[in-house]
Symmetry: C2
Subunit: 349 residues, 2 copies
DNA sequence: CCGAAATGGGAAAGCGCTATCCCACCTGTC
DNA sequence: GACAGGTGGGATAGCGCTTTCCCATTTCGG
C-alpha cells in the first residue's frame, strides 16, 4: 500500500466531506449542489444543503471544469486597463459575463505584441469559453501571424474568439466604426465652415489611428476641406501636448483652422499646449477629439468629439461570445455619433 | 467493462497525447514541460518538446491546479472598472500579477454589497492565491458581516485577503491615506488664505468620503478655517455638477471662498456648474479635488488636488498577497501628495 | 396480482494533470 | 567481483468533481 499523499489538513472541505456528513453518496451530493435534472428526495436534499452550509463548502471550480470539460471563464486581453477606452469596454464585458454566470480573467499586454502572444498562450491553458482581444492591432507586427495561429488553435479546440479592433485571419470582430466616425466628424467640421485641418494623433502603426485620420480626410475632402499636416506621438494626453507644441513651434499650426486629435486625451493635452502658447482653443482655432470621455464635456471650451458606445461594444462582444449559437465570424462595426460642442463653433469667417 | 465516455474528438490534446507521440511516459513528459527538478535525458526532452509543439499542446491549467492543489490565480474585486480610480489600481495589480506569473480574474460589484458577497463566494471556488477587495467599504452594510465571514473562511483555507480600502475584521489593507491627504489639503488651502470651505462629495455612507471630509476639516481648523456646508450626491462627475448647483441655488455657496470636491470628477463637474451660473472657478472661488486624474491638469483653471499613487498601491497590495512570506495583516496607508494648481491661487484678499 | 415502467440512490470510471514509488541500469570502490 | 550509491525512466495513486451505469423500490395499468 502506498503512503497516502500528505493531505493538507487545513484544506478546503470537499464534496466527499459534504456527502459523508450528510450521510449520502457523493453522487447525490453533487446532484443537489448543482440542482441537476436528476431528482433527489427532499430528505436528502435538505441534509446535503445543511452539511454544505455547516462546512462552508465551496465547489472547486477547477475540479468542476476538468470534470465537465469546460470552464465558465471568459478571457479579455487589453493593452492597458488604466485607459478609459479599454476600461469602458471591460466594464461592458464584465456586465455581460456576470449575467451569463461566467468569470472574467483579464490580461494586459502593455501594447507589446510579444506579451500579447504569451498571454494568449497562458490563457488558452484556462480553456476559457472565449477570448476577447481588444487593443488596437499594430500593423505588420512580426507576432501577428503567431497570434492568429494561436487563436486559430484555440478555435479548433472549440473556443471562440472575437476582436474588438480590426479582425485578422478571418476571425470575428465587434468594434467602433472608426472610419465612418472619422468621415462623419470630417463632414461635420467642414459644414461648420472649417477647411484646413491639422491632425495630432498616435503612431501611424496603430490601425485605430490610420482609420480615424483616413476617415476624417474622406469626410472633409468632398466638402472642400483638406488635412494640411499630421503629427504623431504617443496616443495619450502628453502625446497630444507634445505634438501640438511641435506643430505650433514649426509654424505648421498657423494656417490651420481646426486641430483634430486622434482621441480626447490628445485633444485635451493639445488644448493645454495651445493655451500655453497663447492660442485660444475654440476661438483662434477649433479642436476636436474622439471617444467622448467623461471630461470632454467639462474642459473649456467643451470638446467636440465622436462618441462610441464602448461599454455596449464590450457587452455585445461578450454576449456574442457566450451565446449558445456559434456566431458567424462577422465584422460588426458599431457606429459612433458626432457630438458638436463649443470647441468647434460655426466658423465666423 | 464500462463503455468509455464519449470523448470529444475535437478536444484539446492532452499530456497523454504528447507522451504517446514522443514515445515516453506521461511522467517524463510532465517533467520536461514543467522543467522539474528531476532531470530528463536530452534525447527524451527534445522529443517531448517537439511532440508538444507539433500537437499545439497547452497545459490544462484547471487540471494542473487540481493536481497541484493550488491555482496561479489572483482575484480582484472592484466596484467598477470603468472608473479611473479603480482601473489605476487594477493596472498596478495586473502588473504585479504578471511578474509573479499569475492570472488575474476580476469581478465587478457595481457598489452592490450583495453582489460583492456572491462574487466572493464564486471566486473562492477558484481557489485563488489571494483576493484583493477594492471598492470603498460602505458603512453598516447588512452584508458586511457575511463578507468578512466569507473572507475569513477563505483565509482559513490558506488564501490571503487584502483590502484596498479600510479593512474590516482584522484583515490587512493597503490603501490611500485619505484622512492624512485630506488634512494636508486642508492645511494647504488654509495657507493659501482660504477660510470657508463648501464641500461637495459622495454619499456619507462611503468611508472614503467621510475620511476625506473629516481630514479636510482637521487640516483647516487649526489654521482658522471651517467647513461651512457639505452637499452629497453620487460620487462622480454629474453628482459634482448637481450638488454644486444645489449649493449655488440655495445660496450656500455665496459665503464660501473655496469649493472642495470629494474627487476630481466631482470637482470638474462642479466647475462646470459654477461656470454655468456665471461664477468663475479659480477666480471667484477656489476649487479642489482628490486623486489627480489625468485631465485634472487640463481643465481650466488647472485643478488643485491630492495625488495618490494608485497603481503603486495596487502593485504593492498584489506583491504582498503573492509574496512567499505570509504578510502580517497590516493596515498600510500610502500617503498622498497635494498638488497645488491654478484653481487654488493664493487668496488675493 | 403481475409484469412494466418509473423513481431515487449508490458505485465507480473517468477528466488531465502531478508526484511518489519503484525499478533497472550504470558507475565507482574496496 | 560484490555492493553502495547514483541516474533516468515508468507505473500509478490520487486531486475533487461529474456522470454513466446499475440496482432496489415503488407505483400502476390491465
Amino acid at each position: 500500500m502506498r503512503k497516502p499523499r500528505t493531505r493538507v489538513s487545513s484544506g478546503n472541505p470537499t464534496l466527499a466531506d459534504v456527502a459523508a456528513r450528510a450521510g449520502v453518496s457523493q453522487a447525490t451530493a453533487s446532484r443537489v449542489l448543482n440542482d441537476s435534472a436528476r431528482k433527489v428526495g427532499e430528505q436528502h436534499r435538505q441534509r446535503v444543503l445543511r452539511a454544505a452550509r455547516e462546512l462552508d463548502y465551496r465547489t472547486d471550480l477547477s475540479a468542476q471544469a476538468i470534470a465537465r470539460g469546460t470552464a465558465p471563464v471568459l478571457a479579455l486581453l487589453v493593452s492597458s486597463i488604466d485607459d478609459p477606452y479599454f476600461s469602458a469596454i471591460a466594464e461592458g464585458v464584465a456586465q455581460s459575463a456576470h449575467t451569463h454566470g461566467v468569470i472574467v480573467t483579464i490580461a494586459i499586454t502593455a501594447r507589446d505584441t510579444e506579451r500579447e502572444l504569451t498571454s494568449v498562450r497562458t490563457i488558452r491553458g484556462q480553456r476559457p469559453r472565449a477570448i476577447l482581444v481588444s487593443g488596437s492591432r499594430v500593423t505588420e507586427s512580426p507576432h501577428t501571424a503567431a497570434l492568429v495561429a494561436e487563436l486559430r488553435g484555440f478555435a479548433a479546440g472549440g473556443g471562440r474568439t472575437i476582436f474588438l479592433s480590426r479582425p485578422v485571419g478571418g476571425l470575428g470582430a465587434v468594434r467602433p466604426a472608426n472610419s465612418a466616425g472619422g468621415r462623419e466628424l470630417g463632414a461635420a467640421i467642414a459644414r461648420q465652415g472649417y477647411r484646413r485641418a491639422a491632425v495630432v494623433t498616435g503612431s501611424p502603426r496603430l490601425e485605430t489611428v490610420t482609420e480615424r485620420t483616413e476617415g476624417l480626410r474622406q469626410g472633409m475632402v468632398p466638402l472642400g476641406g483638406v488635412i494640411t499636416t499630421v503629427e504623431s506621438d504617443t496616443f495619450d494626453r502628453s502625446g497630444g501636448y507634445r505634438s501640438a507644441r511641435r506643430l505650433i513651434e514649426s509654424g505648421r499650426m498657423a494656417d490651420a483652422d481646426v486641430l483634430c486629435a486622434g482621441n480626447d486625451f490628445m485633444a485635451v493635452g493639445a488644448m493645454t499646449a495651445l493655451r500655453d502658447c497663447g492660442i485660444r482653443p475654440g476661438h483662434d482655432i477649433a479642436v476636436t477629439g474622439f471617444n467622448d470621455i467623461e471630461t470632454a464635456a467639462d474642459v473649456t471650451p467643451r470638446l467636440t468629439t465622436v462618441r462610441f458606445p464602448l461599454a455596449g461594444i464590450g457587452r455585445r462582444a461578450a454576449d456574442l461570445a457566450l451565446g449558445s449559437a456559434a456566431p458567424p465570424p462577422d465584422d460588426i462595426c458599431v457606429p459612433g455619433q458626432v457630438i458638436l460642442r463649443a470647441s468647434c463653433p460655426p466658423r465666423p469667417g
